[in-house]
């Protein structure tokens, strides 16, 4: 099995264009998949393109257009970064993905590219209106995270492309939260999760709001109907405005972790909880 470890993005792109490779970064998805296949006698593995020796792909930088998260930025990098409250939810997710061992290795971009319905980063990125920067043989392009995440474990990444960064536009005065529901405290795959971002004016009225739910559909979804209903409403009363209808576009499944009906009900509760949390932090700040 071939193992490529290029030291430049150009080399990596050339390899990606020429070979059907598995990209390896933090390894927190690649190795478990390999182990699961081997357990049932399937040792075959595609060639590996290890992108961790490429300089410049790791780190968080503030740019005029927004915050840039290099593709190799880990969950722990995110958790430790000094970031505005816009990122409180995403940072909370960073502390709830696997254990510290996974957080120290796993990358933000890898979580997105793996495209698991239960990927904890994805609803956050959707709520953050993140843009995915992708490099390919034709150059670099960007696309919104919602366009990037196309389905169950599938993305808009072309065969020759590599994700190079996630870019999050600034949102002045925003606060955020993230709530994850699982059946145990640590090392748990989400049953349902909610990422919410809100901006209020001095009167406490919602001037911007973005809410996304994960693990309740093949791809995490923004609750646009709810967002529209909450605009212009007082944050303090927002939780009370949530109805089941606002979650109607979700399509949860029954699996070993939970029933579909439960997921939907839990997501509704979590959305209310998230709005309550945000209202409470607003009240604390005001006090």
């Amino acid at each position: 099995m071939q193992y490529f470890r290029p030291t430049s993005l150009a080399d990596a792109l050339a390899i990606k264009a020429d070979h059907d490779v598995t990209i390896l970064a933090g390894g927190t998805d690649v190795y478990p998949v390999r182990t699961a296949r081997r357990a049932w006698g399937d040792p075959a593995h595609r060639p590996v393109l290890d992108i961790t020796a490429i300089p410049g792909l790791r780190g968080i930088t503030e740019e005029p257009g927004g915050w840039r998260f290099g593709a190799l930025t880990t969950w722990s990098d995110l958790a430790a970064a000094g970031l505005p409250p816009l990122f409180d939810g995403y940072r909370r997710a960073a502390r709830e993905v696997g254990g510290l061992q996974v957080q120290n290795l796993g990358t933000l971009a890898g979580n997105l590219v793996t495209a698991s319905p239960a990927g904890d980063g994805i609803p956050n990125l959707m709520a953050l209106d993140a843009v995915v920067e992708v490099a390919g043989k034709g150059g670099t392009r960007t696309l919104p995270v919602q366009a990037f995440s196309t389905g169950y474990r599938s993305t808009a990444l072309a065969a020759d492309e590599i994700v190079t960064a996630l870019i999050v536009p600034k949102l002045h005065g925003a606060r955020s939260t993230f709530l994850k529901l699982g059946a145990r405290k640590y090392l748990v795959i989400s049953i349902a999760m909610v990422a919410a971002i809100v901006v209020t004016n001095e009167a406490g009225t919602i001037t911007a709001v973005r809410i996304a739910v994960g693990a309740c559909s093949a791809v995490a979804q923004r609750l646009t109907a709810l967002e529209a209903a909450l605009l212009g409403q007082p944050l303090g009363q927002a939780a009370g405005l949530v109805t089941a209808g606002h979650l109607a576009d979700l399509a949860p499944i029954d699996d070993v972790r939970a029933s579909a009906a439960y997921r939907l009900a839990a997501a509704e509760s979590l959305v209310r909880d998230a709005l309550t949390d945000l209202a409470a932090t607003a009240a604390r700040r005001a006090a």
């Binding site: 190795y31 182990t35 061992q101 120290n104 145990r184 640590y186 070993v256």
Partner: protein, 936 residues
């Protein structure tokens, strides 16, 4: 195909030293550390980032070494448990002193995670400690003592475990006798070593639950893969191709002969270089499957007209168990209130962090007639060859019997050398790898090793029996139980394993530890096309306790009696009669257990009422449950034999055949033997469980080692003491002291020194003590009447939970655990057993559900993490067992049984729903709460 690729060399900086190693760049760092550099302190529990056993530091931050490519580790500073580091040293000492290492398989990862935490945060809170170690799973300790050890290091406390003086070992909290290598990472588990050049084995397993198969030309496969030494099939087994716990039920093939009965059953064994056996895909093997309809679940297996799993069991009912006393109809008639219910539990996985591993070697017989000193090899003579199996196990002599049978040799030709056992809980009682590697080593005449993957371990080895129980219970107006009846079907899977034990243990225990005059309990163990269910901490009793304790809560509710009070009214006591007709003359401490938790129970009840009166998001509830558990085999002989030798040079050796699976028998038995002899524990060397050297102590199961082997250890100590005293002509209260080959015997004013070096010896041994003990029991008659056990453990546990009314999530906030252990030989270890049992009980209640083919890894199969544990308060009740060594009896299984029913009772108290199926996953509780709301 190239079977041995030329590997590139990488330089790894490990513990400050640059080490060159040839390794596949994609090989995990964990694998390269272990197989390439021999640094086997880093353990592999799942190879998927789920368990944290392989935690090492990379540039100071904890990572799972199984998720790091070897190429990525180059140039990074890697720190492993083998590091010489002051902080790691302090953690090692603290873990040892606190009893934070039980089996020790998670200990290296746990210590590395703690080192990361403390290096970055010198004074962490308890919550921060839990966060810091949250990525490492432990199945033995319940994390409590691990957190305490880390807290002690953070405080700067000196790690101190007492050293017991002669005669003062029993009751002392001495450190584990086998603990130092566990905290140093030098203890050798099944996967940690193998002879140079050993071949590897990989079993090819059925992906189908029920199928017939035919094999094509395997010799062509072998020819095409030069690294393959052999492809073994059922036809290659030299002896009997079958094994099983019961001498009369050897129903499980080592390699399936053309028919598989469950998904995960082995059909072939590939033997060769590691690259060859791992690199050959199952799909490339000439196997033709003919899939048949599988019988999944007991109901399917009991349906009319189905094709049975085994031709000799046409109705798929392996065994029936039965107990009857009094007149059940009369009993219900005497009741003022009757409660009934149906209860279901699923497969539960042992989830020991060490997957099965070991190696086998065919050796030439050695002539070592005692006393001759001759160790010359006999000339090449196959008939006397021996097979040695070095592997993790709970039952060395049973392994010896199975291997002898399968290889087709005598018992004397088989040697079992148990490695350190990284958790067992019943799952390593049955053979797994042993017959496979023994056959391969026998046939190839080369050492053969195997390491199960996590998934292979989960898919192929035994589970806790799923149960379907229907029960009915009555009580009179005063709350006195008048009748209990139950029928239970236990899904024993494809093969018998311990199914008969479960079917027999449950009827005896199903009433719980209460006075019930009229009882009728009937059980069946039913074959299905699912993974064999076998022994798991409690042998069916935890499942039965869920039913019984729930009905008691029903009766309490109907009669308006407090749940603690109704249990106290009925608690079995000294002089009471059990449903088997046995009178408990002594050591029946349930009333004391209940009394010891009463004040806290009342306080928690008041706290819950106050909390719930505020009407917040969470509802608080309190539950109580009791348990009992017979120590040792049910109405069957289960002797143990122990030996202590004193050599000419003064070497005192405890030859202990009881395998320590983490619970601490090596330490407890040593404490018992030491006090019986009258010398300090520190004076002993010990050898554990080598069938060539230690007498048969029986298996490590049924909570029997402290009680049964403890008695044998005590007798061995007494025997040696008697011989010493006779030699010195000293009285029974004489004091002994051993200094080199000088043994001093002080009897009052008189003192005599025995020079051991001049005594007559046999193979250097001048004196030896032996003890053998078999607990007194009687057979059970057709109605289950008799004396099934010599003694019973008892417990009462109280659980406090908080339930999220909207999400249905349950947080167990507190457990009070009162256990009558007779005598706590080593209270630290006793508490460790209780903590660990509670963790497993919590898992059983709230999260653990093994679904064949679906939850066969440690991210879909959930066991409690450090953050899931409640605060635990333990009351050790010591109602002395006169039959026990220094009054002791077992605690291993009793620790678990009461926890799940107490949690279910607490959930019910909190939110008013009576759960009858575990695990109570959030969606199940939510659905039940919805149903209740709809009904109201």
């Amino acid at each position: 195909m190239l079977d041995r690729p030329v590997l590139p060399t990488v330089t790894l900086t490990v513990n400050g030293t640059d080490r060159m190693v040839a390794a596949d760049p994609f090989a995990s760092l964990a694998d390269t550390l272990r197989e390439g550099l021999g640094l086997t302190g880093t353990k592999i529990g799942c190879d998927a980032g789920d368990c944290g056993a392989c935690t090492v530091l990379m540039d100071g931050a904890q990572v799972c070494a199984c998720l790091v490519a070897t190429a990525q580790a180059e140039g990074r500073a890697i720190t492993t448990i083998e590091a010489e580091d002051p902080l790691v040293d302090r953690l090692r000492a603290a873990f040892l002193a606190a009893g934070a290492a039980q089996c020790g398989i998670c200990t290296p990862g746990m210590i590395m995670a703690a080192a990361d935490l403390l290096a970055h945060k010198a004074a962490p809170t308890r919550r921060e400690i839990e966060d810091g170690i949250g990525g490492v799973l432990c199945r033995c300790t319940g994390y409590i003592k691990i957190v305490e050890a880390i807290e002690a290091v953070a405080r700067g406390a000196n790690a101190f475990a007492p050293v017991a003086e002669a005669g003062a070992a029993v009751g002392a909290r001495i450190a584990r006798a086998d603990g130092l290598p566990k905290v140093q990472g030098t203890d050798r588990f099944g996967a940690d070593f193998a002879p140079e050049g050993a071949l590897w084995m990989r079993a090819v397993r059925s992906p189908h639950a029920r199928a017939r198969f035919t094999l094509g030309d395997l010799s062509a496969v072998k020819a095409a893969h030069p690294g393959l030494e052999a492809i073994l099939t059922a036809a290659d087994i030299p002896g009997a191709n079958s094994f099983g716990i019961f001498p009369t039920i050897k129903d499980q093939p080592v390699l399936a002969p053309g028919l598989v009965r469950y998904r995960g059953e082995a059909i072939l064994a590939l033997v060769g270089t590691r690259e060859a056996v791992e690199g050959l895909a199952d799909a490339a093997l000439p196997i033709t499957w003919e899939v048949e309809p599988a019988l999944i679940g007991v109901d399917a297996a009991l349906a009319e007209g189905v094709t049975p799993l085994h031709a000799n069991i046409p109705d798929n009912v392996l065994t029936r168990g039965y107990l009857e006393t009094g007149d059940i109809a009369e009993g219900h008639r005497l009741g003022t209130a009757t409660a009934e219910g149906r209860f279901r539990t699923g497969f539960v996985e042992h989830a020991y962090i060490e997957p099965e591993a070991g190696y086998a070697v065919r050796t030439k017989a050695i002539s070592s007639e005692a006393g001759t000193g001759s160790r010359e090899e006999i000339a090449w003579d196959d008939s006397s060859d021996r097979i040695e199996v070095t592997a993790c196990t709970q039952a060395a002599v049973m392994d010896q019997e199975e291997v002898a049978r399968v290889v087709g040799v005598s018992m004397a030709q088989v040697r079992i050398i148990p490695t350190a056992c990284g958790g067992g809980f019943g799952g390593k009682l049955d053979v797994s790898i042993q017959p496979l590697i023994a056959v391969a080593a026998w046939l190839t005449r080369k050492p053969v090793r195997i390491v199960y993957s996590r998934t292979e371990s989960m898919a192929s080895t035994t589970k806790r029996h799923p149960s379907q129980i229907q029960a009915r219970m009555s009580a009179d107006a005063a709350g006195r139980f008048t009748a209990y009846e139950m029928t239970g079907d236990f899904n024993t899977g494809a093969y018998a394993s311990w199914g008969p034990t479960v079917a027999n243990r449950v009827p005896v225990h199903a009433t719980g530890p209460y006075k019930v005059p009229h009882v009728r309990n009937a059980t069946r163990a039913v074959h299905t096309n699912e993974v064999p269910a076998g022994a798991f901490r409690g042998f069916g009793v935890p499942q039965a306790a869920l039913a019984g304790e729930t009905l008691i809560d029903d009766l309490a509710e109907r009669l308006g009696i407090d749940r603690w009070a109704i249990r106290r009214i009925n608690a079995i006591d000294h002089g009471d009669r059990t449903p088997t007709g046995q009178i408990l003359y002594a050591s029946a401490g349930l009333p004391q257990c209940l009394d010891s938790v009463k004040a806290d129970y009342d306080r928690l009840m008041a706290g819950a009422a106050a909390h719930n009166a505020m009407g917040g998001r969470t509802a608080r509830g309190v539950g109580v449950a009791c348990m009992w558990y017979g120590c040792g085999n049910t109405s069957m002989s289960n002797p143990s034999k122990m030996r202590i030798t004193l050599a000419r040079d003064g070497r005192l050796t405890f030859l202990n055949g009881a395998v320590d699976i983490g619970q601490g028998s090596s330490t407890v038995l040593l404490q018992i033997a030491a006090d019986a002899l009258g010398l300090p524990t520190a004076a002993f060397d010990f050898i554990v469980g080598d069938t060539d050297r230690t007498p048969d102590a029986g298996k490590t199961s049924a909570s029997r080692q402290t009680f049964v082997s403890g008695n044998a250890a005590k007798l061995a100590g007494r025997d040696l003491r008697a011989k010493i005293l006779a030699l010195a002509n000293a009285g029974p209260s004489a004091r002994l002291a051993l200094d080199g080959h000088r043994l001093t015997v002080e009897d009052g004013e008189a003192s005599r020194v025995i020079d051991l070096s001049v005594l007559a010896s046999e193979a250097d041994i001048v004196l030896a003590g032996e003890g053998e003990y078999d607990p007194p029991t009687t057979a059970l008659d057709a109605k289950g009447q008799g004396i099934p056990y010599a003694t019973y453990g008892f417990a009462a546990q109280v659980a406090e939970v908080e339930v999220d009314r909207l999400l249905g999530t349950v947080k167990v906030t507190r457990i009070l655990a009162a256990h009558d252990v007779g005598r706590a030989i080593n209270p630290t270890l006793t508490e460790g057993q209780i903590h660990g049992g509670i963790a497993q009980g919590l898992g059983l209640a709230l999260m653990e559900e093994y679904l064949p083919g679906r939850t066969e890894n440690l991210h879909d199969y959930l066991i409690p993490t450090a953050g899931d544990m409640p605060e635990i308060t333990i009351h050790l009740i010591e109602d002395t067992e006169p039959e026990g060594p220094f009054g002791a009896k077992g605690v291993g299984e009793p620790a678990l049984v009461a926890t799940a029913p107490a949690i279910l009772g607490a959930i019910r108290h909190a939110v008013g729903v009576r759960m009858t199926e575990v695990p109570v996953l959030p969606h199940r509780l939510w659905a039940a709460m919805q149903g209740r709301e709809a009904a109201e």
